[in-house]
Symmetry: C2
Subunit: 368 residues, 2 copies
């Protein structure tokens, strides 16, 4: 297998769009092409990752840029759609099938809650608890019971990520929140308040993966390499197992451990999620995530910054885009291009983590 | 790249199901596993191909069989979804990433017409002509004008494929139709009558692709190899170009030409489609497809049998299943297992062809 590099990444600002989603998705592609210094005609295959944009949405995006006959495949894996696209693009390049592959993730969101889509038919289902806020609230309650984690610690994830989003021009929200504002916002599903849930955002992001010979041609920047990628499906009820096993596969492939990660973008759809993922990704011991956020370890200024982009909480969570937006952030950070939200100490290794309904998880490890 | 084999295939009977689609999709997987002599725990990755079965539908299917942590990816490419899944599974095995990959295609269809999803905003759109029967009718009118193709020749495709379906226990319909019945059924979109449109069917099919070392272990049957696969996106308005270019890529990869094909399953969503594809696939010259059907060349007893399964017209067209069902038929035919519908003369090379809304086409070439 060959080495695989991120030659270019691009986004559009998350928010609520009036334009058709394929227009914004095409803009994200064009931004990524410009960043890569690659001509559209050189792109050999594309993955279009989205959850609910309808039949052949990827073909519509590509039609906006120009039809070149390339292979376009629509990929859906719930919230892990974008990272699943990255995974497949990686192997297309690693195997020598292609030299230049585009992944574009996009979503125009509908209103309303998303159900957990567990496929189960249980009393919880009938009682309306198997919607996403309900699922995460149950996990939060259990974590509080097991480890003494507090509502304040969860709320602090929202405060941190909203602060980070203020420095990201692509984030949906550029607004700092106080701990009190988060804690005293409307209760959604005890203990999770409204400002601990990711907003409903539209968005599009793109990444271009290339082989070494392409990456080394006319490139004056740091080469950014994808060194680990894993997509796994496990029971939705064993979140720690799912993320841990997926991460371990990616760590093994990349030949690194959690101690080598300099920054990460993790799936903070709800604040408790980010805390759970600290533990499952091996950033701390089980039950220690509250301490991590309290001590500021995962702030931009901390020793292991998490979601400097603002994360799902502030940047937004257009489902099919999220995995690609995370990649954009890690690439910019490793290149040192993140300006006011640049993490310190010249980071070398970043991690992305997404988790989707139905029990799917993806972890990527990126290095320079 | 390594050689890739179909170790097992399996289906459920097409029709209108009451069961949840994931139950039937799981049955198709189990049938394919049995046919392959492979244990579920040996499967390393899965593609779930469907168009409108909702978020993480593939994960739900896999959950029915047992969660083993494997990578499950949902793939959507309109009517070419199944064959796109086959394409990606091929490269997963060819590249050495995996040895055993499952592709399961399934669909529970909604009622009503499917729009052409061209993404275009034209007068044709506004006039309601850009639904599938309208699109195919316009192509039929043009073919009649250009080449003198007749309504009888188109109707003969339906007669042939319905006759073939009578011998396929998995087909939705086992009912012969006369030319008169087809021609005098209700006019849908001139010149296409109701019995020239594929029915609305639910269904599921699965295929297991393996590396040579797996294929050669404990196998007393003919080894069936996937030797060419191509997925391309082009303008939806240039159907001949789209199919021709995609087929040429697959022919080149397989190192065969149309003259080497012993049987084919082609995309006969509407009867005119099958005729157009004869030409685009190189089975005859432009404008000669009417003659081909008149002369019985594409009957099961002919020199180039097309859609011995009954095709979309009679077997049915559950969107995400179709490409996999075509593969099932070719595998059974090459193994000589197709009983009453077995094509003659010990066929060596088969072709599958699917075409999807949005301008996507896939061609696979399979040999023993």
């Amino acid at each position: 297998m060959r080495d695989v590099y991120f030659q270019g990444v691009g986004m559009v600002k998350c928010g609520r769009f009036n334009e058709r989603i394929e227009i914004n998705a095409a803009r994200a592609c064009i931004n990524a092409l410009k960043d890569a210094g690659i001509n559209w005609r050189e792109v050999q295959a594309a993955y279009a990752t989205h959850v609910m944009q309808g039949v052949s949405a990827g073909q519509k995006v590509v039609s906006q840029i120009g039809l070149t006959g390339l292979n376009v495949t629509n990929v859906e894996n719930a919230c892990a759609s974008g990272s699943t696209g990255i995974h497949h693009a990686y192997y297309d390049v690693a195997s020598g099938k292609y030299d230049i592959v585009l992944v574009v993730g996009f979503e125009k969101m509908q209103k309303g809650v998303i159900d957990s889509n567990s496929g189960e038919r249980s009393y919880e289902d009938k009682m309306g608890m198997r919607i996403m806020p309900g699922e995460y609230a149950m996990k939060a309650q259990r974590h509080m019971y097991e480890y003494g984690t507090t509502p304040e610690q969860m709320a602090r994830v929202s405060v941190k990520n909203h602060k980070n989003g203020c420095y990201n021009p692509y984030a949906h929200y550029q607004k700092e929140l106080t701990l009190e504002e988060v804690l005293h916002s409307r209760m959604i599903s005890d203990p999770l308040t409204l400002l601990q849930a990711c907003p409903t955002s539209d968005g599009a992001a793109a990444a271009i993966l290339v082989s070494e010979n392409v990456a080394k041609k006319n490139n004056n920047r740091d080469l950014i390499k994808l060194i680990g990628t894993s997509v796994q499906t496990e029971s939705v009820f064993e979140e720690e197992d799912l993320t841990t096993r997926t991460a371990n596969t990616a760590y093994e492939m990349a030949n690194v451990g959690p101690e080598d990660i300099n920054l990460a973008e993790v799936h903070d759809a709800f604040t408790i999620g980010e805390l759970l993922h600290y533990e499952a990704l091996g950033f701390c011991e089980l039950g220690e995530s509250g301490r991590l956020i309290d001590e500021g370890v995962t702030e931009i200024s901390g020793s292991l910054p998490v979601s400097p982009s603002g994360g799902l909480q502030s940047r937004g969570h257009p489902l099919g885009m999220t995995g690609i937006a995370q990649v954009c952030e890690i690439v910019w950070q490793l290149r040192g291009e993140s300006k006011q939200r640049q993490v310190r100490n010249n980071p070398k290794v970043g991690l992305t983590h997404t988790q989707g309904a139905g029990g799917v998880c993806s972890v990527s490890i990126i290095s320079k």
